[in-house]
Amino acid sequence: MEPILFTLFGAIAVGGALLVVTRKNPMSAALSLIMSLFAVAALFVLRQAHFLAAIQVIVYAGAVVVLFIFVIMLINVPENRLPIEKPTVYRLLGVVAAGLLMIEGGLASRNFSAPATAVGEVGSVEAVGHALFTDYLFAFEVTSVLLLAAVVGATVLAKKKI
């Protein structure tokens, strides 16, 4: 069962990623990105990394892409005024670099076999929560100070009258 699901979601992830770079309309590109990210989340679930899967959906598919979509809607370029993309040297170089990266990834992946310990032992919500509130408690708390500073700072810069 697992190999079938892996192939299925892997294909969706790669297909979504290809759609992101080939769609002309930015909105459909962004939506394809969501599809790809969801499929990656499903791959994480297959590897028992439930926490990572949830974060993938919440942060990437949720927050990050929603921001993309906000920006696209704010700028709101009509379809007929989208810039015409021409093949340039940089584009060609980009394709070559991406191809090299793919080959490199393929070569590197031959060195890995199935991990000795199940990922579930470190990737589950429970294990991450335990680490967060014991070893990394301090980092967790400092982040709250950081967020407070960011909120105060954003208010200072954006409010009409302070």
């Binding site: 990394y136 301090f138 700072g153």
Partner: protein, 491 residues
């Protein structure tokens, strides 16, 4: 269900290790709250409240002393090294707040948000200086930086403020990303972010063969270079310094630099020896280029704030000389220099703030014409701070440079020391140019009338001058303190 063991002694130890930070955060929140309930003419209270918080934190630092307290499973350690830098950062913060009493109304910074941002930034600096885990250092850096980005752009109506804040924010974000990337690579190579474990793994060149680890260290260095404005990552410095309200410029130049260097010295003393053949020449070149570019760019400037901004780049280069030397003496000299630098720079900005009538044009060097003889105290104070920045005896700046360069010579970096001294000589030109304008240039019209400093302000200036002079004549005690703190790091 995994049970989380509760060990009350460990909890208490953790709280003790971050007590000064906790005091600062509580004060910051109190100031924000008090701001809501205070009427417009009662806002002066906020500044004194913040100052009280900073002094309480400083007291707590001394109560904790230099004993080693490891908190939160090794994320943060309160030790002699942390104590030294906590002292530098908190004194810089206290001086700036002391200047802000009775001054903030004029600068438009009499706001609860202003003070709470300063306090939260100071918290980040302490965390960065005491962090013994790469993750803590990064979080400290961000907690330090985000309030500073906002403070730079605090006077939103000025174009230079917005420009400076935006540049600083964008480049700072890049710097943070570089640093994080470096940490991720180091984690990938070693499987840990804890500095003591990294030291154990890298000692004797154990990790020198790992290209992941080397790349990680390099990117980490780039992240630090952004924060302490080393060449070629210094581009934001003049704009951010010029755009920020001068109070904030003084705070940034002294405290941010000290905190960033604190973490850098910790990493450099502990982790660089393991990769020294690779990273040593890089540090050498960075130090020389930073000094030279900073000094040469300062020569042609007419805005005094920009001159001091470029001079701060050059000073980062001098301090790097201590890190290149890489031994106890070098780090000790760097620590001493950072302390003196905080006081002399805050002092110089403090005097300039009184003389200048407004931001931007007010800091043109021509405004200083004739100040020297008409206002002898201000003239003498500014001259003292500039002489110290130039490194002329009998000031703290001279002693600092002397130890930095002699550490370089002692470790065989003769050329580095020679280039440093040459640079230092070149810098005398633009420092003394300011002095010449004050004393020997006839004003074109009226001599500008400086503001009369309020009591707290005058006190802060006197404190700066006293520290610069005392450290120039009897530096022994502070040098020993710096030595002790570096030793506590190596323990």
């Amino acid at each position: 269900m995994i049970a989380i063991p509760f060990d009350s002694s460990q909890v208490m130890q953790g709280i003790a290790s971050i007590a000064p930070e906790a005091i600062l955060v509580c004060t910051a929140i109190t100031v924000l709250m008090a701001d809501l309930f205070l009427a417009e003419d009662g806002k002066w209270l906020l500044c004194w409240l913040s100052l009280a918080g900073v002094l309480a934190a400083l007291g707590e630092v001394y109560l904790l002393g230099s004993s080693r307290i490891v908190g939160f499973s090794g994320m943060i350690t309160s030790d002699g090294f942390g104590m030294f830098f906590s002292t530098v950062v908190l004194s810089a913060c206290a001086l700036v707040l002391l200047m802000a009493t009775g001054w903030s109304e004029r600068a438009g910074t009499q706001k609860g948000e202003f003070y709470s941002l300063i306090l939260m930034s100071t918290t980040g600096m302490l965390i960065m200086a005491k962090g013994t885990d790469l993750m803590t250092i990064f979080l400290g850096l961000e907690t330090l930086s985000i309030p500073i980005y906002v403070l730079v752009g605090f006077q939103r109506s000025r174009m230079t403020a917005i420009e400076g804040a935006l540049k600083y924010f964008l480049l700072g974000a890049f710097g943070a990303a570089f640093m994080l990337y470096g940490m991720a690579l180091i984690y990938a190579a070693t499987g840990t972010t804890k500095i003591p474990v990294l030291v154990y793994m890298s000692v004797g060149g154990g990790m020198a063969g790992s290209s992941l680890f080397l790349a990680g260290m390099g990117l980490l260095l780039v992240g630090f270079a952004f924060k302490v404005s080393l060449f070629p990552f210094h581009m934001w410095t003049p704009d951010a310094y010029e755009g920020a309200p001068t109070l904030v410029t003084a705070f940034m130049s002294a405290a941010v630099k000290a905190a960033a260097f604190a973490a850098l010295v910790r990493v450099a003393m502990l982790l660089f020896p393991g990769v020294s053949p690779a990273i040593g020449p890089v540090l050498w070149v960075l130090a020389v280029l930073t000094m030279t570019v900073g000094n040469i760019s300062a020569l042609g400037q007419n805005n005094v704030k920009r001159i001091l901004a470029y001079s701060s780049i050059a000073h980062a280069g001098y301090i790097m000389v201590g890190l290149v030397a890489g031994d106890l003496l070098g780090s000790q000299a760097a620590l001493f220099y950072l302390l003196v630098y905080a006081f002399m720079n805050i002092g110089a900005f403090g005097v300039l703030m009184l003389i200048s009538q407004k931001e931007d044009d007010g800091y043109d060097i021509h405004n200083l014409r004739g100040i020297g003889f008409k206002y002898p105290v201000l003239g003498a104070l500014l001259t003292l701070f500039l002489v110290s920045l130039a490194g002329i005896p009998p000031t703290g700046g001279f002693i600092g440079k002397f130890y930095l360069f002699s550490a370089a010579v002692k470790n065989g970096y003769i050329w580095l020391a020679i280039l440093g001294v040459l640079n230092s000589a070149a810098s005398i030109y633009y420092y003394l140019r300011i002095v010449v304008y004050m004393y020997f240039m006839t004003p074109e019209g009226e001599v500008v009338t400086p503001h009369t400093p309020p009591f707290g302000y005058a006190l802060a200036l006197c404190a700066c001058a006293a520290v610069v002079l005392v450290l120039g004549m009897i530096p022994g005690a502070v040098l020993t303190m710096a030595e002790q703190s570096v030793l506590s790091l190596l323990m």
